[in-house]
């Protein structure tokens, strides 16, 4: 399906939302708070965001081959069912561009001791690594686009492998639809550094105090390719520590390591038993500081993917990506804010037959914008993106966008 075929449908819904938003507060019929029933044991919340922008001909904002983050109708329903003080089931169902709803999260939260801030979560759990991926609601993102680390598709795939460095270099800047000769030859989208669009499955432990928060998990996929069912017979181990040295400041450090190639891809390149060698290893650092009317966030991720060296010219050493973003938000007036994000995604170099180059095309993005709260839970955002890429068919692209967010 070509991108944008469901455009009319979601534009109509966006218009409907806009009309609902213009209804005075007194006549408001849409819920403004989470829906609670069964004596407080069941709570439902929702989040609808409709983004509209021009055609992203450079695929800078695509989250897979069909969905651009700037032309997206996202409908989220989250729910929690509390079964006493120790147990809760939490879930989130999400639909993008009026597609079939997909479970995004579904896990059991166990709190063994009510007096201690210690939780065990089992199922499709929240990301352990980094900071941005846990800001699931559209209102948590001051802009419309996503940080490159969590959205931009590199050419690397978990189910298909380049036979040589030349093959990988040919795919520079084509992550939305890359194809390689080994394993699955069908063109498909590549992997982001870390996915903000699906969650991993496994077990997670979380302990917190006023000063420090620590999380560790064992999951089926990796940060770039979260999975429901394991396709690589290996587990990812991830951890994050965040400290709050002063009120308003959060400093976080994360690490994750796990096999990222599917068993089929690994076997087709190297034969049996080598799957565990081809891993994604990532380190991350993040900072958030807020005070008064401003909020500043910084996040950096270094990711190394180890891929098989099959044919000459060999892919020598791990493929590294370094993503860095700085984001700021300032409240100008009640309900009105301005925001900006500067993002860069760089890649390590490899040596091909004819040239030495980065294995994917580095991307830089500057996004500026702002938001206005029509009412507390109805926000209108606008943004303007300037994207540049050192490779690929489209090298520079400016994209304006608008978004309406409603939540309860």
């Amino acid at each position: 399906m070509k991108p944008g075929t469901t455009k009319r449908k979601w534009e109509a819904i966006a218009c409907a939302l806009a009309v609902c938003g213009s209804v005075p507060a007194r006549a408001q019929t849409l819920p403004s708070e989470p829906i609670v029933f069964a004596d407080g044991r069941v709570t439902f919340g929702g989040d609808v965001s409709a983004s509209i922008g021009p055609d992203d001909t450079g695929f800078f904002n695509y989250t897979d081959y069909q969905h651009s983050a700037l032309r997206l109708l996202r409908i989220d329903f989250t729910g929690s069912l509390k079964a006493g003080d120790h147990l809760a089931v939490l879930g989130e169902v999400r639909s993008e561009n009026v597609g079939s709803p997909r479970p995004y999260a579904l896990f059991l939260r166990i709190r063994p001791w009510t007096a201690r801030q210690f939780d065990l979560q089992v199922g499709r759990v929240p990301p352990t690594f980094g900071a941005f991926a846990r800001r699931t609601y559209a209102a948590d993102n001051p802009l419309i686009g996503y940080p490159l680390a969590y959205q931009y598709l590199t050419s690397l795939r978990p189910d298909s492998l380049p036979g040589s460095a030349d093959e990988l270099l040919r795919m520079r800047g084509r992550g939305w639809l890359s194809s390689f000769s080994l394993a699955n030859p069908t063109p498909d989208h590549g992997l982001p550094v870390a996915s903000a669009f699906s969650w991993d499955t496994g077990v997670q432990m979380h302990v917190t105090s006023d000063f420090i928060e620590a999380t560790a998990s064992v999951t089926a996929g990796t940060i770039s390719d979260p999975l429901v069912t394991d396709d690589n017979s290996g587990k990812q181990i991830a951890g994050r520590v965040a400290v709050r040295p002063i009120v308003g400041l959060i400093l976080g450090a994360s690490a994750a390591r796990g096999p990222f190639l599917t068993e089929t891809a690994s076997q087709s390149a190297m034969g049996e038993g080598r799957n565990g060698d081809f891993t994604q290893t990532a380190w991350g650092g993040d900072l958030e500081y807020s005070r008064g009317y401003y909020l500043v966030r910084f996040e950096t991720i270094v990711s190394d993917w180890t891929v098989p060296a099959v044919r000459a010219p060999l892919i020598d050493g791990p493929l590294r990506a370094l993503a860095t973003s700085v984001e700021g938000r300032y409240k100008i007036a009640p309900g009105l804010y301005a925001a900006a994000r500067l993002d860069h995604l760089g890649f390590s170099e490899i040596v091909g037959t004819a040239r030495r180059d980065t294995w994917d095309a580095p991307v830089t993005r500057l996004e500026i914008g702002g938001g206005y709260s029509i009412q507390r839970n109805l926000i209108f955002k606008v943004s303007y993106q300037h994207n540049t890429r050192e490779g690929g068919r489209v090298r520079t692209l400016n994209l304006p966008a608008a978004q309406l967010v409603f939540w309860f």
Binding site: R26, G40, T208, T215, G248, G292
Partner: protein, 246 residues
């Protein structure tokens, strides 16, 4: 004769202009103010004299549930339990201000605390001109903002031990929130007169020093208002008025 006719014509024109202007202002006021709590004109039959008391009870058939946290699946910890006691408190007030009420009101200061991720009290009733302090008594950041038409403000994020203030000049209902914790909310009811009372946990209220006269009295709880009910107060006397809401 001619001069008199011209003068009368001018007077008629002027009075028409004044009436039109008044209508414009009145419609503007009713448009701008969000659910104004009191009318600006004294009711018929009001006598400005010594005070009486209006007392009674507000019965809630159903207590409004507290606002739960959004079920944020990405939150790593389990949320704490919520306290519901504040939802029992209602506000009873005179719909129309007695003559002279505006001169009588002496706005002062009030406190709306932020404690354990709640605004305390959940309902605050004040007279116009009152300065409300919003101290942060938690160990985490809080923010206080409102997008209500009667008061649109944002006090920014501030840490424990700090306090920000805001003066409420326009009568109306002001919903107050924290932009960090979406379950935190409170009501500030701003009156242009001092004839109102917040009930206790059992719904009892007492409005004192009400000048003798006949008034319309309204009870309010969590955004739900009763129909106005008449109450006649004599000098030094008391009127009993009970309400049932929801």
């Amino acid at each position: 004769m001619e001069t008199q006719r011209t003068q009368r014509g001018r007077r008629t024109q002027r009075s028409r202009l004044v009436r039109a202007l008044f209508l414009c202002v009145a419609s503007l006021v009713s448009f701008v103010s969000f659910e104004p709590l009191v009318s600006f004109f004294p009711p018929a039959g009001v006598l400005a004299a010594g005070g009486g008391t209006i007392r009674g009870r507000v019965e809630l058939r159903r207590v409004a549930p507290p606002v739960e946290r959004r079920p944020t699946v990405s939150e790593l910890g389990a949320p704490a339990a919520r306290d519901v006691s504040d939802r029992l408190r209602s506000v009873v007030y005179l719909e129309s201000a007695p003559r002279g009420a505006f001169e009588q009101s002496r706005p002062g200061r009030a406190v709306l605390n932020q404690r354990e991720e709640r605004f305390v009290p959940h309902v605050l009733a004040i007279t116009a001109g009152t300065i409300v302090d919003f101290p942060n008594s938690d160990r985490i950041y809080h923010n206080v903002f409102s997008l209500s038409k009667a008061a649109r403000f944002d006090l920014g994020r501030y840490a424990a031990g700090h306090s920000e203030s805001r003066r409420f000049d326009q009568p109306g209902i002001v919903r107050v929130f924290c932009d960090i914790h979406s379950h935190m909310n409170a009501f500030v009811l701003v009156f242009s007169h001092p004839f109102f009372a917040v009930t206790d946990d059992e719904g009892r209220y007492r409005i004192e020093n009400v000048p003798a006269g006949t008034y319309s009295v309204i009870a309010w709880n969590e955004g739900v208002s009763s129909e106005p009910r008449p109450a006649t107060i004599s000098d030094g006397g008391a009127a009993e008025l009970d309400f049932t809401l929801r």
